[in-house]
């Protein structure tokens, strides 16, 4: 079928990729069996493709579940939040389309022009989401004690916290570590 450069079209494309890969695996296993391999050896020889088919199957499920579950949620939230949630879904679907563009070229009728459009769409989504990036992670609502990170604290005092943590090192408890007298000084004086 003609390629449809929409979220649903990409999800359908991932279903085609998964079905196509599974079909190729079955064909390769059968071909290897006809050439005299037993089923187990034919399976093993095809296992790289089989693992890839499973990953594509799972990817298709993740995309379609994320899309359908968000569609359900979208009707229950304010328009401002709905816009951001749908942008996140679009970003996820378009990101994976670009990550798996080889598979889409192999099993669907996607064209170079469609891919170019996807790339522009993706970069446009990044720009749209940029103002909400911090708001989106604040919404995960991790307290500083749970985040436990000098880089990620709510107040953003990164450099002060990095220094505070550094000073907790037991090595900073004394200005001259014992190893100077034990090892370094004798070494420097050629007595070690």
């Amino acid at each position: 079928p003609p390629w449809d450069n929409s979220v649903q079209g990409v999800i359908h494309g991932f279903h085609r990729v998964a079905a196509g890969k599974i079909g190729m695996c079955v064909a390769n296993i059968e071909k290897r069996q006809k050439s005299g391999l037993c089923y187990e050896d034919a399976w093993n020889m095809t296992s790289v493709q089989l693992a890839s088919a499973s990953e594509s199957h799972c990817r298709a499920i993740l995309l379609s579940t994320y899309y359908s579950e968000t569609e359900k949620l979208a009707s229950k939230v304010t328009p401002a939040l709905k816009t951001v949630l749908l942008q996140l879904v679009d970003l996820y679907v378009v990101y994976w389309a670009l990550q798996r563009v080889g598979d889409l070229l192999r099993f669907t009728s996607i064209s170079e022009r469609d891919i170019e459009q996807l790339q522009n769409w993706y970069e446009d989504l990044l720009t749209r989401l940029r103002p909400n990036a911090v708001g989106l992670v604040d919404a995960f609502d991790f307290r500083d004690e749970i985040l436990h990170s000098a880089l990620g604290s709510y107040d953003g005092r990164v450099y002060e916290r990095l220094m505070e943590e550094a000073l907790k090192s037991p090595l900073n408890a004394q200005p001259v570590n014992d190893s100077f007298h034990k090892y370094l000084k004798p070494f420097m004086q050629g007595k070690l």
Binding site: A18, S54, L62, E69, T78, P131, A133, L151, D155, P170
Partner: protein, 472 residues
Amino acid sequence: VNPDLQRERDKCTFNVTELTNLIDGGVQNTEERKRQEDLLLKEGIHIEEVPSEYLSHKEKYELAVKKACLLFKVIRRMQEEENTGMENYRSVLGGNLGSAILADGSPLTLHYVMFIPTILGQATVEQQAYWIGRAFNLDIIGTYAQTELGHGTFIRGLETTATYDPSTKEFVLHSPTLTSYKWWPGGLAHTANYCIVMAQLYTKGQCHGLHPFIVQLRDEETHMPLKGIKIGEIGVKLGMNGTNNGFLGFEHVRIPRENMLMKNSKVLEDGTYVHSLSSKLTYGTMMFVRVVLVTDMCNYMAKAVTIATRYSAVRRQSQPKPDEPEPQILDYVTQQHKLMIGISTVHAFRLSANWLWHMYNNVIAELDTGDLERLPELHALSCCLKAVTTADAAECVERCRLSCGGHGYMLSSSLPTTYGLVTAACTYEGENTVLLLQTARYLVKAWQQAMGGNALTPTVSYISEVSTGRRS
């Protein structure tokens, strides 16, 4: 608050609290979560005089045990005061709080995530009556041992044997080789005194495959290992060094017949073996754990992308326009490319985990009516979802760490520890490649069914639609 970060918050176009409530599953859940956090963090269990990163391996374990016991004391008090149940344990322990208080893993996690759920899922009512109360009260501490030194995901290859002796009505557990030693279970080395052991059942000279047995490891008073039990720590790891992973070998250890969990399969006193409904039933615990795993991946990724995004709003770098100040690194599209997908992946996994959880509960409900039709589909789904989500999560956390430059390499950033927790999930509860191949078995069968014109279960129905050219 850092002015750059404040400016980011000022320009946000949606209501952050509304999204928090959505993520938590409602305003009440947010309030309950915050209340639990307040309650537990007020105890100060998470506060360390010296950061635990500077402790020895032994000290890390001792600190983890101390924290875990203090944590359970508080949880038990919460239970008594509020009359809550198991859910309370899981929501506190499995979620962010547990990993915040026990950053490097807890030696008691498996007691709640595996030992109790397995008893609930695979013990008879009488057995549950005997064990569950003691487990909930922490009168006993349990763990779960399936993986061996020489075998893991391929569970039919496990070598530990449980041979029924009808003359004494006992099972004799034995580790025939070094490779048959149980290896990895958290809490096994020095913490647990009981263990659910998965062993190949032999009765009347015949092998009936893998079955669960409850075995006492240590004396309940002295905590000394019992006769015939060889037990210890497996050594320091890439991460999770608080979990007390151990090894366990048996030298002809006898346990009473009643210690085989017999909800599904049974061994009668004379040694007669009674089949279970389906060999897939023993997967119950594993599927439950995999569903929990996908949710855990969301939490770890959410933490990592929170750290990296806030840092990226504060950090300034380079001067693309000569007459302007250094921009925030979050203004670089390459940085947005590294982080935004992490934010949307958290939501994708959270919704998928909820969806899988509902499907798991529906299938388990159907199981109780004897309808096993969707069990293979659920098993295949839990395998590939566990493999893909853990791999994606590990990649996402590593990308967040790298997006923070050198400071992401500091343990005080919390990103390396988070990576250690996440990447471990790629190999426990089923090694990812083996799981993908298990799903492939189901997909090949589904393909052949579709070619035969048969109806397919919902998650693979696209195969027949695509092969007949219809839209999914």
